[in-house]
Amino acid sequence: MQSAWLSALSFLVVSTLVGVGMLAVARVLRVKARAEGSALKTRTYECGEEPTGMAWMQFHARYYVVALFFVVFDVEAVFLFPWAVVLRELGMPGLVAAIVFVLVLMLGWLYAIKKEALRWQ
């Protein structure tokens, strides 16, 4: 394992400490209300009205499609990164290969735009 990864790991640990530390400090500093945990106070906010039903509900497939598109385009990007770093060695054939790769994907993009699959409602 490269040493840089260890440094990055310990950086993340320090970052976590920021959040945890803040919550710990707040635990000491914060006021304890007399009516802590009272039914009125812990009710979910919904503009002062009693909430109707829970917020945990079913969602529509269009959200799913956006995530799917993200994954597809990210996979594309992930394949392009190794290409990007060796582009100079590859020369023209490498460029052509990538252009073909991207154009095929953009066909899919064009289809999606035509069918308005990415329209957010």
């Binding site: 829970m54 497939a61 799913y64 499609v65 994954v71 394949f79 590859l90 899919g108 999606a112 069918k115």
Partner: protein
């Protein structure tokens, strides 16, 4: 030595979070635990000097696939107000299947002499991957794009399945991004 202890610890963490994925009653939590498992797998990759793969694992799997799964879970319910519950059934059979798979893979590893030679494998960088993809396996590289194209088309088909409120009497779907010019002209002759 420290490295293998660290690796063992990470592997154990991965395993524990994986168990949480299957044992978790709440599907959303299961999906989040899956995210944690995938993240820890990325850490394992990083420990094995596969930096690029580790980055890709986080970017695609934790960022993308778990989001996809969360959305998928959010889509699965029919009734408002119910926490998604999932029950683990057939535990013995599951354990048996997992054990069999583990045994098979372990045996395969054991039987492959190169994997057990104790020699550290070469570090594969993104540059090596790039050369491999675009010089040795160009065709595979191009086929991947076709695969992704199929994925996009599939996604579009899913999305087009239903237009909410399409055939409800009295409900009119307005064009969301209508321009003012396409707005309905209005009465002018009525003036008191």
């Amino acid at each position: 030595m420290t490295a293998s202890v660290g690796f063992g610890f990470m592997a154990a963490c991965t395993l524990v979070s994986a168990i949480f994925v299957v044992r978790s009653k709440n599907l959303i939590r299961a999906a989040l635990w899956l995210g944690a498992t995938l993240l820890l797998t990325a850490a394992l990759y990083a420990m094995l000097d596969a930096s690029f793969l580790a980055g890709v694992q986080v970017l695609l799997y934790v960022g993308g696939i778990s989001t996809l799964l969360i959305f998928g879970v959010m889509m699965t319910r029919k009734h408002e107000g119910l926490v998604v519950e999932a029950e683990t059934v057939n535990v013995p059979r599951g354990v048996f299947a997992a054990g069999a798979l583990f045994g098979g893979v372990a045996a395969a590893i054991k039987m492959t002499p190169e994997l057990d030679s104790g020699v550290r494998p070469p570090v594969v960088t993104a540059n090596d991957l790039g050369r491999g993809l675009l010089i040795d396996h160009v065709l595979a590289f191009e086929v991947v794009s076709l695969l992704l194209l199929v994925a996009i088309i599939g996604a579009v088909v899913i999305a087009r399945k239903r237009d909410p409120g399409a055939e409800v009497p009295g409900f009119v779907r307005r064009p969301l991004a209508a321009k003012a010019s396409s707005a309905k002209p209005v009465a002018n002759e009525v003036s008191p």
